[in-house]
């Protein structure tokens, strides 16, 4: 069974960067301070270097070059610094991502697009940004970094199943390979000891309707943001658009077509400004 081989390769995935993990725990406390974030991050050289790069990028549009992590924290503010830490931490896993017929950094570009879209949707629907959701969205397709080569090997069979039986690419992955990329991502998240809400959002990012926890709106936002990026072709791979459309998402968030299209336009603008973040991979 191929899936045994896949499960073994999960074990070789490095631990989630401790600094990024600590920041995730920090932001759960509503009273966390921005200096706490700086204190955690400054001991991780790779993340610090990446944060400085992001801070000095056009995305944040700062006039003066930032050289220390404390400056970065002061200038960027709470939300942006958390985003930058998480992007720097997560990007390392996408560096060698192959498969789904994609070039190296395309899966990362897709992940950044989905993460930005979750924040745009969250602002429109709940009037707030959500740093944890941002991280979850960056990781929603993490299963693909392992699935990639197996999907490429079995692509003719998977595609045949999708086109003959009209099933989703996700279901076809499971039938042919023995596991789908969302479940696999969930296993990676569990291995990293992520909180259940995050792990669930990764597992159910194509099928939030199957999730038992009905209060996990994050999973639905990741789903909707993912569909938007898939439709716009952002980091779109050989799986194409062969995923299930769930109309209940419209009712759940009381969104109109116009809202959705406007959010898409905003996301493409944000993505354009996030070229340095995408360039990290």
């Amino acid at each position: 069974m191929i899936s045994d081989k896949i499960l073994k390769s999960i074990k070789n995935i490095p631990a989630f960067p401790a600094a990024a993990m600590k920041v995730m725990a920090l932001i759960d406390d509503p009273n966390y301070s921005i200096t706490d974030v700086a204190d955690v991050v400054k001991y991780d050289q790779a993340i610090t270097a990446n944060i400085l790069r992001i801070c000095n990028s056009a995305y944040f549009g700062l006039r003066h070059k930032i050289v220390t992590i404390n400056d970065a924290v002061m200038r960027l503010g709470q939300q942006n610094i958390v985003r930058a830490v998480q992007a720097a931490g997560v990007s390392t896993f996408y560096r060698k991502a192959k498969g789904y017929g994609l070039e190296a950094n395309k899966l990362w570009e897709h992940s950044v697009g989905v993460a930005l879209m979750t924040q745009i949707l969250s602002k429109r629907i709940f009037k707030r940004e959500d740093a944890r959701l941002y991280t979850t969205a960056l990781l929603h397709d993490i299963g693909k970094i392992i699935m990639g080569e197996f999907v490429d090997e079995s692509f003719p069979q998977i595609h045949d199943l999708v086109s003959r039986e009209g099933i989703s690419f996700l279901d076809a992955e499971e039938k042919i390979i023995g596991i789908n990329h969302a479940d696999l991502g969930g296993r990676i998240a569990s291995q990293w000891n992520f909180p259940k809400a995050m792990t669930d959002a990764i597992i159910y990012h194509h099928r939030p309707d199957l999730m038992q926890d009905e209060d996990n709106s994050g999973a639905w936002l990741v789903y909707l943001a993912d569909q938007a990026c898939i439709m716009m072709g952002i980091g779109l791979g050989s799986d194409g658009l062969a995923y299930k459309g769930l109309s209940e998402v419209i009712i759940k968030f009381k969104l109109r077509q116009k809202d959705f299209e406007e959010c898409i336009m905003l996301m493409l603008e944000d993505l354009d400004r996030a070229r340095e973040v995408i360039g990290m991979v």
Binding site: Q227, S238, G240, G245, E261, M265, L268
Partner: protein, 161 residues
């Protein structure tokens, strides 16, 4: 041969026979190629949404974003290089949809419909079409010959005729 990449909400035109205009990863977005074989002028548009009424300001800044502003803009830019409407060969690809498409998500179909309505109103014939379904398409045009090609993961590269 040099490849000129057309991004999302973007278009390029050329009269250089060494150019290939190419756009990657058309999902629900639609690609339109036009070509005048007499003067060897061609263009490729990658539009994203059907109607500019969504945001007139953005449509003004970047007409290529919408079908109803992008397509006229593509034609006009080719006229400036000497192309004539009556000689234009038009081919289209993209407009894919996700499965069991709910009304909300029907951006692919709406894009295709908006484009066809526009061509129909202006008496322009579509001579090659590969739209719909759920696949990811790469679309290109060779300026030397006007040949347009669609690449998908399952079919490889095929000429659109």
């Amino acid at each position: 041969m040099s490849e000129i990449i057309v991004g999302i909400s973007d278009f390029k035109v050329s009269n250089n026979i060494n150019d290939i205009l190419i756009t990657y990863a058309l999902g629900s977005c639609v690609g339109v190629t036009i070509y005048d074989p007499v003067v060897k002028v061609g263009g490729l548009l990658h539009f994203m949404l059907p109607e500019s009424s969504l945001d007139m300001r953005k449509a003004g800044e970047n007409p290529a974003m919408f079908a109803d502003t992008g397509i006229p803009f593509l034609f006009k830019t080719c006229y400036e290089l000497g192309a004539k409407k009556k000689r234009m060969i038009v081919k289209v690809a993209g407009g894919a949809s996700i499965l069991d498409d709910a009304n909300f998500f029907r951006i692919g179909q709406k894009n295709v419909t908006a484009m066809k309505k526009l061509f129909w109103k202006n008496n322009v014939l579509i001579e090659g079409e590969d739209t719909g379904s759920n696949c990811n398409r790469t679309f290109s045009i060779h300026i030397s010959t006007g040949q347009a090609f669609v690449r998908t993961a399952h079919n490889g590269t095929r000429e659109l005729v």
